[in-house]
Symmetry: C2
């Protein structure tokens, strides 16, 4: 079951094991002819250096870690991680690195998972996603000696490089778009305030309204789930003066909101305009097709992987800023039903 080892290659090439190692890792100090002979011998034997042995002697795992804290039941609705991971993989594979993935049910289990990954030295570095207010993982990664990259900039000072993608221009564009269509009562259905991207989208929304000279009193927090998005929509539509437009912080809530409106006889976009966030496939295939704010999540994965890879190989990469979120206008937005006052 065990294949040929470096000793077999050395014997066949008539050199020492050390030299085979040098040739393999093409270090200087091996005569060209010798190197060729060694590589040939390796080839003939079908030898592949044992990753385990390399791990033990070089003290590296050749793997990166991603830990996701989510209830299993909500994972099916996640628009972010599958694409992010696909992007990460497209960089890791060619680099000979593996991705160790961990999905844990909550935040306590999440911290334990980081510790366990570090204890077993399963990975050389980690991605920190879903940044929260005062995120304990920033310090934990440092404490554990785990190189890390954060997705977005933490709200506290962080020693880890950040790969950022600014939601703000997208949210502002959505609000501006609605304002131009004559909307004056615009509501926001946002994520939890503990999540930085929840807070920031909310702040962008408020700032955009303010720029337009409007008040932002209609803003509700959810857990990003379709169920709470639906509940928030029901609440908003039952108001004495319901909004004529709703800016949702993700597509799933927007789709759920659309269903709530429809079931209440509110016609989108005639009576109510809505916008989503994420640019998911499902948003493209509801009726009316969802106007949304899109980001390039696959590229975010790729870029994050590249930065983390640099970090674990001893480089000191700078923060990296990706193209910001952008508005994608489809059919769920239209002129406000009542002319502005």
């Amino acid at each position: 079951m065990r294949g040929p080892t470096i000793a077999d290659v050395a014997r066949r090439a008539g050199v020492s094991k050390g030299l085979v190692s040098f040739a393999l890792n093409n270090r200087p100090g091996v005569a060209d002819g010798t190197r060729r002979r060694i590589l040939e011998a390796a080839d003939e034997l079908g030898w592949q250096p044992s990753m385990r042995a390399r791990s033990l002697s070089t003290n590296r795992a050749f793997a990166l870690g991603l830990i996701i804290a989510r209830e299993p039941s909500v994972m099916s609705a996640d628009a972010f991680f599958p694409m992010f991971i696909a992007g990460v993989e497209s960089e890791l594979g060619p680099a000979g690195q593996a991705l160790v993935l961990s999905i844990v049910p909550g935040e306590d289990a999440e911290l334990a998972a980081y510790r366990s990954l570090a204890r077993d030295r399963r990975v050389d570095g980690v991605f920190i996603t879903d940044l929260r207010a005062d995120d304990p993982r920033i310090a934990l990664a440092t404490e554990l000696g785990l190189p890390a990259v954060t997705l977005g900039r933490p709200d506290s000072t962080s020693p880890h490089p950040a790969v950022t993608l600014d939601d703000d221009p997208g949210i502002r564009a959505a609000v501006d778009h609605l304002v131009e269509l004559g909307h004056r009562r615009i509501a926001h259905v946002g994520g939890p305030d503990r999540m930085l991207h929840g807070t920031r989208r909310r702040e962008s929304f408020a700032a955009a309204l303010q720029s337009a000279g409007l008040e932002s009193t209609l803003s509700v927090s959810t857990d990003f789930s379709a169920a709470e998005g639906a509940a928030a929509t029901r609440h908003l539509l039952a108001l004495d003066e319901p909004p004529t437009a709703i800016v949702y912080a993700n597509d799933h809530m927007a789709v759920a909101g659309l269903a709530v409106a429809q079931s209440a006889g509110v016609v989108v976009p005639r009576d109510l305009s809505i916008t989503g966030f994420d640019g998911t496939e499902v948003g493209e295939h509801v009726y009316p097709a969802l106007t949304t704010v899109a980001t390039d999540v696959v590229e975010w994965g790729r870029a994050s992987a590249r930065v983390l890879l640099q970090l674990v190989t001893g480089e000191h990469p700078d923060d990296l800023e990706l193209p910001p979120a952008r508005l994608v206008v489809r059919s769920s937005t239209a002129p406000a039903p009542h002319p502005a006052t």
Copy 2:
């Protein structure tokens, strides 16, 4: 950076390294007092055995592999993998095993990924998901010496244990439900024929129609994407005698079909009944809420992980059959518009 080693523990406990190893893996042959002394010493030093060293000497990776072949762009719409992985993780974590995940763009890259995982001995076993007709991975896993478990039963003989979840009762229940509502022209929008679960759902559909004494002439194949689900629906609705009900092979296509119907002025479920498959959250939050066929994907992940874990520890687990798919009736199905002839 390197922590205490087994030698430090041995010294502190006043025994040999070998004995520490025996105590750790609680093998017989260590006096109780000695064992206690050793464990105490380990505890005081905060020693954790090095997984890398264990890997090298025991020839195990303490990790399992999952390879997914998908275009990155369609990952966001995947209802299966995030939940499946969450289930897998819930078993692996406690067992001290890690999950190595690989997402590759196509089938060639997929086979290469299995080879690469095997070559680097990164994992002790693999999950084979998304079974296809005459699936080459069945033989490949054997060739590579990779213990494997298949999700579902392959169409060829397989040496690997299968963890199955029968779609058939769910599809039949959906068709029966529609027939009872008076539908006679029922169409199927299914997956690709190369995918076993595409074929099997189609066959279940045809068999159920036949049992009801109906013909099954309306059946179209897609790639499971919302876009093709929408196109198939457009095609069906444009027929001279359009169906009064459509059974979709997944929720995303059903949601897209719903949008197509709506945009054509076809009211669901008054003019057209539709059913989905997967029991996704989004299907619950469209209007009307989608009648669907649900499976317990998280449990499928758990069960598959348990079986694979048994396999890699040298046991010979039997095939495992999970509770079958079941119909969840919501609001997208109603009596047929025209009484049966």
